[in-house]
Subunit: 212 residues, 2 copies
């Protein structure tokens, strides 16, 4: 028997969900919550396997609740639920400790699969969600590609040294070249990444994933 807690600030939604889930033989809704605080209280009081957590709640939202919950009760699995297929929502709640994310407009099959998958400790992201995350990753990877090609190996080397805090002179000694050469590389880097100074250079290098 999988013990569930439902957290959503819309009572009608919770009611519907509860009825739907309790039709399944192996599921049992042991608590309902209308806010993040109630979720934490419920989990303090009795053992819970999975919390189905709406992201958009007044007061402490799903993200924050997720963070607290996975700190206090690491064994409780968190399934994020939301109407928004938003990259930031998804990645935020996953970073906050959730194991799964399902959209409210997907069917009940998806939800049931998610529950059973999470119950084994594995991760589940529904189809549309996977697609969203995937495409954002791919986009980042592409930018990475185009930006990296613009820089020569030597420039990348100098770039890393600059980001590490070495001065032009030190980099020269490190790479066995004159500081004048390093200055030229630095100038070319500033030009190629359209940065106004060292700070912006390092910033853009990070954004384009030229350094980790």
């Amino acid at each position: 028997m999988i013990r569930l807690v439902l957290a959503d600030d819309h009572q009608m939604f919770v009611d519907g969900l509860k009825s739907l889930l309790e039709d399944e033989g192996d599921l049992c809704v042991v608590g309902e919550a209308k806010s993040g605080y109630e979720v934490l209280e419920l989990c303090d009081r009795e053992p819970v396997d999975i919390v189905i957590l709406d992201i958009n709640m007044p007061g402490m939202d799903g993200i924050q609740t997720s963070r607290e919950l996975s700190k206090k009760h690491p064994a409780v699995k968190i399934l994020g639920l939301s109407m928004y297929n938003d990259r930031d929502y998804i990645s935020d709640i996953l970073k906050a400790g959730a194991l799964g994310y399902v959209l409210k407009n997907t069917g009940k099959d998806s939800l049931l699969t998610a529950i059973h998958t999470l119950n084994e400790g594995s991760t589940y992201l529904s189809e549309e969600v996977s697609r969203t995350l995937l495409s954002s990753f791919m986009k980042a990877a592409q930018e990475h590609h185009t930006a990296e090609e613009k820089l020569s190996d030597r420039e990348k080397e100098v770039l890393e040294c600059i980001a590490s805090g070495f001065t032009t002179h030190e980099i020269g000694e490190k790479l066995f070249i004159s500081k004048n050469t390093v200055e030229t590389h630095r100038k070319n880097l500033l030009y190629k990444l359209k940065a106004r100074n060292t700070a912006e250079l390092v910033n853009k290098a990070y954004k384009q994933r030229l350094i980790q």
Copy 2:
């Protein structure tokens, strides 16, 4: 009927896996590959639903293959397979377009669940893998917390401006304070983040997730 391709450089492993999968009624192994190139060829030739891809292969490795494959055949689902529960492997192959990741030392049930989940377009990460990713996210979030507390609001504001490439003077105008004040903030930032200069400051700010 789900059409599978198995890619692994160890023939015996492929043989075993094939026998295991074909015992299932709804699975069909339509091809085997010992390298990334063969995978791409196979997918060019006939329709494939899921590629089960070993990460450690000679020549073009699983990560690279994944990137190529999801570029040329976005509809093909990629399931990463490896003996290593390594955070970098996992995140790299997911970024490269894979929808799932399963360890070789997990049972066949996990693999079958993964296949069926991926076939619907959803994402599956097995239990240990989820745990690994989760703990690394949590760790990052914790560091974030401790580092962020050290800086005052004003300092964070100045830090962002510095990273954006504004000079001390410009920041002063922007925040309606004297450039001398900005210099003090900058000094404190350098001290607090133990950076030698602006470049390293921006670098460390990124590493400690003080800026995105």
